[in-house]
């Protein structure tokens, strides 16, 4: 067990960068650490001989999702969040829950027969995956296409804002407690917002 040095290296990188993604103070470095986590998962897929899934993972996650997240962070970044304090008690409870999950599922696995299961050397080819996806799973494929289209349209509708409405909202906010934003930063935000919406 645990004889593969590549596997150990990739798992250390993946788990460490997952922790950094959640705990690093600066949000944008957290996003980069998340990208490294997702790349580590892609490396796992390569180790499992699922190269097409690995390629898909890199294209979709590192190429699209992380870039989208970084744009959103740039759009909404504010210094005040760095002081967002979770509180020690909350943190301890979260760690206890996480360790309980590891302990419970680990105990279940240790008692099961999964340790004796052997991975087979036979892996499906790209042709097989493509055939299965476009024949047997074609209804799911079509439903997935509609789901993606609907979510993209929904995201655009949510993020879109009419010019007048935004100004109205701003005036409302300016009178409120949090009216600390400068008027100059608002102009740049409109252009950024359109980019982040995609």
């Amino acid at each position: 067990m645990m004889s593969d040095p590549y596997f150990i290296a990739v798992s250390v990188i993946t788990v460490a960068s997952a922790i950094i993604a959640l705990e690093f103070r600066e949000l944008i470095y957290g996003a980069i650490a998340l990208a490294i986590t997702l790349l580590g998962i892609a490396m796992f897929f390569v180790l499992l001989d699922a190269t097409f899934v690995a390629m898909f993972q890199i294209t979709v996650y590192v190429g699209a999702v992380v870039v989208l997240i970084i744009f959103t962070i740039m759009l909404v970044r504010r210094e005040a969040w760095l002081k967002l304090d979770e509180g020690g008690r909350r943190r301890v409870m979260g760690a206890v829950i996480a360790l309980a999950v590891i302990g419970l599922v680990g105990a279940l696995l240790a008692g099961s027969s999964i340790a004796r299961w052997q991975a087979s050397e036979n892996t499906p080819t790209l042709i097989q995956i493509g055939e299965e996806m476009l024949t047997y799973y074609s209804p799911a494929f079509i439903a997935l296409a509609f789901t993606l289209a609907a979510s993209v349209i929904g995201a655009l509708v949510l993020a879109k804002v009419e010019r007048g409405k935004e100004r109205e909202m701003e005036n409302e906010k300016e009178g409120g407690v949090e009216g600390t934003e400068g008027a100059g930063s608002e102009k740049g935000r409109g252009a950024e917002m359109e980019e982040g919406g995609r």
Partner: protein, 102 residues
Amino acid sequence: MAEILDYTIVSIILLAIGIYGLTVKRNFIRMLFAVEIIINAANLNLVAFSRLMPVPNSTGQTFALFSIAIAAAEVAVGLALIIVAYRIYRNIDIKGLKRLSG
């Protein structure tokens, strides 16, 4: 070649990290990170268990592909929600979003 159990252990650790992030963090974007980590742990399991078949079987990898695509859609909607919440509340602290609950 590492065993299936090793991949499952890594997947459990990632799941625990994700649950920790969801319970502790108050920042909306951080919670999205945690969700991403959990989804990836699940995908890792799907692909690892598809290796158990003695005959080459592509079902696990196909499911992982579908799962990745659905996760991308979820991220798009989640980020749009963050932008809307930020525009209304000027904050992404989860505590400030209580008005959403009506």
